[in-house]
């Protein structure tokens, strides 16, 4: 298990933050959120590299962007799945009974 973030050196935090940030690009916005949650308690440490702050901000922006994209997609899907006919049905995981 990992050691608590409070006990990490600033360099280690930087490495962790970068890895999480880059990992987020594998369609893993949760890792960006995770990054923010993880680093959050030490965000104001004076010895923290400014790079970390950049990663955090980027993570936040990108995860929000991903969220918006998927929320939009989901809204479109729910709205139009009945109009799409067979294609909509194949996309649906479990056909909703009654609708």
């Amino acid at each position: 298990m990992a050691k608590p973030i409070e006990r990490m050196g600033s360099h280690e935090i930087l490495v962790v933050s970068r890895k999480l940030f880059l990992g987020g690009f594998c369609l893993l916005p949760f890792l960006w959120v995770f990054n923010i949650l993880y680093i959050w308690p030490v965000r104001n440490r004076p010895d923290l590299s400014p790079q970390v702050r950049r990663y955090l901000i980027m993570s936040g922006v990108l995860s929000i962007a991903m969220f918006v994209i998927f929320a939009t997609w989901y809204g479109v899907f729910v709205d139009h799945r009945l109009n799409w006919g067979a294609r909509g049905d194949t996309l649906t995981v479990v056909l909703v009974k009654g609708v």
Binding site: P4, F34, Y38, W73, T92
Partner: protein, 680 residues
């Protein structure tokens, strides 16, 4: 404040005159200590703390560093477990710290024991004065000195007592009658932490004192376990509730309930007879148990051979499957029952994120709470997947598991016992991961170092850090060993005292009750006179206030930063000791320091209750209460036996008993009462 430097004086000479001298100079070190603190920490806010009655006495003036270093080997920092710990609590001299921050963080725990030690010291001192013979003093002195010898030297230098120091150095040679003991002391001096003190000070206790201390220890121990119960019950209850929720949802008309696994040989049908059911389900459960046994043995072998990476890989696969596949099944249930239109794109995206984040946080790094959440959810998923088993098979499986658990943990050659022992022997090889992922084990183990009760939130990683950080390694390990061995031997009456201490004093610290290895309390020390518990209490308040203000310690992290500091450090210490049982699971890490409960226990508690939930709410509640009661009983036994115990038997037996009693007696009874409108 006057007590600040007192520590050294007692060691320095033990002659009344010396003591008087030292107490007269008491203020001087004070002034020295705080500047020292300031320079290290660079924070003026420390000064009040430094001035506190229970200060760290600074042994760290440049000249003495070398001596102090070697001295620090004895005993790690009480708060963070780091070597060298160059400072000691000036009031009681019984604990060491590596820095003032550590002391500050530990103070909330330490203050009570500190007051007690000081009181006991006073008492002792008075007795000694009554004796009045110089010989007595001389004899007592070497004993007390050994525990903190070099540090005291340095400190006396600090306080300007060089002459005393000289006298002290001469003493061992002059004390011929004590030669044997001195040798003994020297031999023990290299041994890690706390234990060394025992032999020296024990003899000074009267029988009543010993009894009193043991009693106090026992009480504190019980209190600690009570606290542990609260902390461990939380994740267990959450896991159980989640399992009930999954079962209830999936029973509300889902087509995707987990099914009986394909490797079972017998399928219950409504028409099958009881004997068929029993034999068939016995066969099914036997197959599953055999798998568990084989996997357990393989894991033990891999661990003993040191193939840790293989193990980690195996656990990663297991966790990934659990989160991904069982998450998928559960999601199918959820969206069908709740009638959520969900498309494959979103679902695979969400599952991928869920599983990947879980893997990262469990196996790599992550905030503790997230790891705990994942482990709890994993356990409930596992339990959910096992609800696919037929009813009779489930009960048979649980009954066989109880037997297996007893065998594996308690028998001399039980695999889990072997695992515990081998991990103890090859401390280094226990990756933190094993603690984390030992999802398969069914045992509860006692808190090894209960010290970090407060530090629950801390990660095991610290230990890791310790282990990897080169030098401190060896200390840590030896220390862990010492503890372990201490506890093992503990059952033997008189030897038990020391072992008990090794195990328990940490307990005391944890419980915030004055603990302190009782032996410490009896060191003669005249200087302490003006130090009163009240004073110390004030001190605490002071400290607490300090905390809420700008942090005395770190430049970052105000209050919580400080608190966090206090946590993790302890944990490291603990963790070393934890080497004792790798089988412990991480879930309880969270529950606080020491107590560990395997995820396997979580899973099978939940399986039992999920099975009950498939029948009736009354049964569910009864079984929940029964299982939790059984868990409490196990923890209680843990407090008594102080060794790894199987956690399943009591809980599962209770749960099964209550299930059948409720199902065949209570529920029909209620069914009769209900219509006739009788309320009990």
């Amino acid at each position: 404040m006057s007590s600040t430097d007192t520590a050294k004086t007692s060691s320095s000479g033990g002659h009344p005159s010396n003591d008087a001298q030292s107490s007269s100079t008491a203020r001087q070190p004070d002034s020295e200590a705080s500047p020292f603190a300031d320079t290290t920490v660079g924070n003026a806010a420390n000064e009040p703390i430094a001035a506190g009655a229970a200060n760290i006495t600074a042994g760290g003036s440049p000249g003495q560093q070398g001596a102090d270093d070697s001295d620090g080997d004895d005993q790690p920092c009480q708060a963070c477990g780091v070597f060298p710990a160059r400072f000691q609590c000036s009031a009681c001299q019984s604990v060491r710290y590596c820095s003032q921050e550590c002391q500050a963080s530990d103070w909330r725990i330490h203050y009570r024991e500190c007051a007690e030690i000081v009181a006991a010291m006073k008492e002792e001192q008075e007795q000694e004065n009554g004796d009045g013979t110089a010989a007595a003093v001389g004899q007592s002195q070497p004993r007390s000195r050994t525990s903190v010898p070099r540090l005291q030297q340095g400190q006396s230098g600090d306080a300007g007592h060089e002459s005393l120091q000289d006298g002290q150095n001469d003493r061992p040679a002059s004390d011929d009658p004590l030669g044997a003991e001195a040798a003994n002391v020297r031999a023990t001096a290299n041994r890690p932490r706390r234990r060394p003190r025992e032999p020296r000070r024990r003899p000074r206790l009267t029988a009543e004192q010993i009894a009193a201390f043991e009693e106090a220890e026992r009480i504190a121990d019980m209190k600690f376990y009570m606290l542990q119960v609260y902390k461990i019950i939380k994740p267990v209850v959450i896991c159980i509730c989640l399992s009930i929720l999954w079962v209830k949802i999936s029973m509300a008309g889902s087509d995707y309930r987990p099914t009986q696994s394909s490797y079972t040989v017998y399928t219950e049908t409504p028409t099958s007879t009881v004997s068929q059911n029993i034999l068939g389900s016995l066969a099914n459960a036997g197959i599953i148990i055999a798998q568990i046994v084989i996997v357990t043995i393989i894991i033990v072998v891999l661990f003993k051979r040191g193939h840790i990476k293989v193990l980690i890989g195996f656990f990663m696969v297991v966790v990934a499957m659990l989160l991904g596949f069982m998450g998928y099944i559960l999601l199918l249930n959820l969206i069908q029952v709740l009638r959520i239109p969900l498309d494959y794109v979103t679902m695979s995206f969400a599952l991928w994120n869920f599983a990947a984040t879980g893997l990262v946080s469990v196996f790599w790094k992550g905030p503790m709470w997230l790891q705990q959440v994942y482990l709890t959810v994993m356990s409930s998923l596992m339990a959910f997947s096992l609800t696919g088993l037929a009813e009779w098979t489930t009960w048979m499986l649980l009954a066989l598991l109880v037997v297996w658990d007893l065998i594996a943990v308690l028998c001399p050659f039980g695999p889990l016992k072997i695992l515990v022992e081998s991990s103890r022997n090859q401390n280094q090889e226990v990756p933190a991961l094993l603690y984390t992922v030992n999802a398969v084990w069914f045992m509860a183990s006692p808190p090894n170092s209960i010290l970090d009760r407060e530090a629950d939130k801390a990660n095991e990683a610290i230990e890791f850090e310790n282990l990897t950080s080169g030098q401190s390694n060896s200390h840590a390990f030896t220390q862990g060993h010492a503890r372990a061995t201490g506890r093992d031997g503990g059952s033997i009456s008189s030897a038990g005292a020391s072992s008990r201490n090794s195990g328990l004093d940490s307990t005391f610290a944890a419980s915030g009750i004055s603990r302190t290895s009782s032996s410490m309390a009896l060191v003669p020390n005249s200087n302490r006179d003006d130090f009163t518990p009240i004073e110390s209490r004030e001190n605490i308040e002071l400290r607490e206030r300090q905390r809420s203000g700008p942090s005395p310690g770190r430049s970052y992290g105000p209050e919580d930063g400080n608190r966090q500091q206090s946590g993790p450090p302890r944990r490291s210490e603990d963790r070393e000791e934890r080497g004792e049982d790798p089988t412990g699971d991480d879930d309880d890490d969270d529950d606080g320091g020491g107590l560990k409960l395997g995820l396997g226990d979580f899973v099978f508690y939940s399986v039992l209750i999920a099975r009950a939930a498939m029948f009736d709410w009354v049964t569910t509640m009864c079984c929940t209460v029964a299982v939790l009661t059984g868990m409490n009983a196990t923890i209680f036994l843990l407090a008594i036996y102080q060794k790894a115990l199987p956690a399943l038997p009591i809980s599962i037996c209770f749960g099964m008993l209550f299930y059948f009693a409720t199902r065949f007696a209570l529920v029909p009874f209620l069914a009769v009462l209900g219509p006739s409108q009788i309320f009990i």
